[in-house]
């Protein structure tokens, strides 16, 4: 029992430490707060802020006011409500893409480095091939065959294209960790390859993995918006990318009152990207001192 309490204390203590380290980098902490805000807004916001999709011709492009803090769009609908409702898909696709591509990169990269030989050269050549495929042309060809309306599908395809960069990095890291004496000791203790890879090596790369995961989320956001802008994804749902597309095609550049319409989603996306990138700074603070000598 005493041991259990100690363990709980240890966990609580390390949570407290984590929070302290999180706060240490001011920019990183700001990123963290904004990230939380964007996530809450996109997932809980839609239940609080209603989105009236009916067109109101009397209210086209009204300026920001109390009633419409960000003004209205070309059909007189509230922009703020659209921002609140349009985040979820972007976030989900970014997260899923990041998750899937990191997962592929890590499992293939670490196994490839650990097993070596033919398997290794196969995987690395596969990665090289995928790296050299031009993405947008491939996607446009793909779009002709598959309907890219499901966010899961988009995430899946983006992930299939974006793992090779991280894979190479993971492979290099595993190759160097593999030489460490504690890995040799684990082999002498016959702890098994899966244990060695997933329990001894990967946790030592957590900082790297989490940060790469977040960075691959940011590139997934750009890829996604790019696809929407190019019209490769049907504009059925509401999201920030679709908003930019509408604002663009429905005259934003011609009509100066539409400035809020086009800038709002751009700002939302930029803020999201900025918060992710800044948050990685805090993550570095959290992971590094512990992996280093423990300050």
């Amino acid at each position: 029992m005493d041991k259990k309490i100690r363990k709980i204390h240890l966990i609580l203590g390390s949570l407290r430490d984590t929070f302290r380290l999180l706060k240490r980098n001011k920019v990183g902490f700001a990123g963290f707060i904004i990230l939380i805000f964007i996530i809450l807004m996109s997932f809980i916001g839609p239940y609080i802020v209603p989105f009236d999709t009916t067109s109101r011709l009397d209210k086209i492009y009204v300026k920001p006011s109390w009633e419409h803090p960000l003004g209205t769009d070309s059909q007189g609908r509230d922009i703020l409500a659209q921002i609140v409702h349009g985040g979820r898909d972007v976030l989900v696709v970014a997260f899923l893409t990041g998750f899937l591509s990191t997962l592929i990169a890590i499992s293939l990269g670490s196994l490839s480095a650990f097993i070596g030989g033919r398997f290794d050269s196969m995987i690395t050549s596969l990665a090289d091939i995928v790296l050299t495929i031009p993405h947008f042309p491939l996607l446009s060809v793909l779009a002709a065959f598959v309907k890219l309306k499901n966010p899961l599908m988009i995430a899946f395809i983006l992930a299939l294209l974006s793992w090779p960069g991280l894979l190479r990095a993971v492979r290099a890291q595993v190759l160097s960790l593999k030489e460490r004496d504690f890995i040799e000791a684990a082999r002498a203790l016959d702890l098994g390859t899966p244990y060695i890879v997933f329990s001894e090596i990967l946790p030592n790369m957590m900082n790297y993995i989490v940060i790469s995961f977040i960075l691959s989320m940011t590139s997934a956001v750009y890829a996604q918006v790019g696809l929407i802008l190019l019209g490769l994804v049907p504009l059925a749902t509401h999201n920030w990318g679709v908003m930019i597309n509408f604002a663009w095609t429905r005259g934003a550049i011609f009509y100066k009152h539409s400035i809020y319409y086009i800038l709002s989603p751009i700002f939302a996306i930029s803020l999201f990207q900025w918060s992710l990138v800044s948050f990685t700074r805090s993550l570095e603070e959290i992971f590094n001192p512990r992996l280093g000598q423990g300050a």
Binding site: K3, R6, K7, L10, R180, D181, F182, E184, A185, R187, A188, L189, D190, L191, G192, Y195, S199, E200, P203, N204, M206, R290, L291, G292, Q293, G294
Partner: protein, 332 residues
């Protein structure tokens, strides 16, 4: 004494290069190594950096496969064993590395480090038993009170304490044989001896067999006084024998040169040494070995036409005391 490990004509070659621009080369890291270690014996392997000590240790631990030759464990060739038998063998030989900083996973606590092998190989049946066994191990390596250490991370321990955890980990699977590869050379002078004494207590209490790899002759003497010593030079054993015999009556010119060259922590002893003048200060590269005896380009006793032509034979000059030098050729 029953032989626990025997190396028969072991060679280990590495190929390096072989890219587009670098031609493939063969590094003859170990050649024709023969040695045997009895149960409960201490075998010290000494020699200078790069002579192949670690490679020998890894071969014995089953972590590397020899290019040719046999490694026998109680008379059985380990590379002809079945998969399960080989795994059992490998578990009974454990390694203690040199660097206590890289031999423990920085993100695992002492508890994690010790419990994993215990649970994985069913040495213990329950968590309760596991904790008991861990405290027992920590007591053996003198990390007491146990509660002060069990939940610590490696970075919260000093170098000597880490090395004790490494030793405790090596003991988890009740091995019969420990390869201690420079296990104390990175530790401070004041810590070193206590780790050596801990290892000696394992020999005494558990009849542990040791391959003690070191470049420190004085440590080899202290640790291996009751056992044997093997002197290595560029991948060959040049002299093997009981430790007191080799150190007090060295036969091979290289062993003699080493013993005369080593500075000692006693001003009168060290200043009264007459250093042997070598013919060259250069250690030849493994890629470009001199013909015949590998020491021939430096050896002051080199006999042209003989030493640089034939590989010296191994001569047994006293019981159990072997030397690979043609100086002793005629006497046999």
């Amino acid at each position: 004494m029953e032989k626990i490990i025997e190396l028969k004509n072991i060679s280990k070659f590495f190929t390096i290069g072989g890219g587009f621009f670098t031609p493939k080369k063969t590094l003859r890291v170990l050649e024709n190594l023969n040695l045997s270690i009895g149960k409960g014996e201490i075998f010290c392997l000494v020699g200078e950096s790069g002579c192949g000590k670690t490679t020998t240790g890894k071969l014995i631990a089953g972590l590397l496969k020899p290019t040719s030759g046999e490694i026998l464990f109680y008379g059985k060739d380990i590379w002809k064993m079945g998969k399960e038998e080989f795994k059992t063998y490998r578990r009974s030989v454990q390694i203690v590395h040199q660097d206590p900083y890289s031999s423990l996973n920085p993100i695992k606590t002492v508890y994690d480090i010790l419990s994993t092998p215990l649970l994985k190989h069913h040495i213990v049946r329950s968590n309760g038993q596991c904790e008991e066994k861990i405290s027992e191990l920590l007591k053996i390596v003198d990390l007491t009170p146990v509660e002060d250490f069990i939940y610590k991370y490696p970075h919260q321990l000093s170098g000597g304490q880490r090395q004790r955890v490494v030793i405790a980990r090596a003991l988890t699977l009740n091995p019969e044989f420990i390869v201690a590869d420079e296990a104390v050379s990175m530790l401070d002078v004041s810590i070193r001896l206590s780790i050596i004494k801990l290892l000696l207590s394992l020999k005494k209490n558990f009849d542990m067999t040791f391959l003690f790899i070191t470049h420190d002759l004085a440590m080899a003497k202290y640790f291996g006084w009751s056992g044997k010593i093997g002197v290595m030079y560029l991948g060959r054993l040049v002299e093997i024998g009981p430790t007191p015999k080799v150190l007090e009556n060295p036969l091979h010119p290289y062993t003699k040169a080493l013993l005369l060259a080593v500075p000692e922590a006693d001003p009168e002893v060290t200043r009264s040494k007459k250093v042997m003048e070598l013919r060259s200060l250069d250690l030849p590269s493994l890629l470009n070995l001199p013909p015949g005896c590998r020491f021939s380009n430096r050896c002051p006793f080199m006999e042209p036409g003989r030493c640089d032509k034939i590989e010296p034979n191994l001569y047994e000059l006293e019981p159990e005391h072997y030397v690979a030098c043609e100086l002793y050729g005629e006497k046999v």
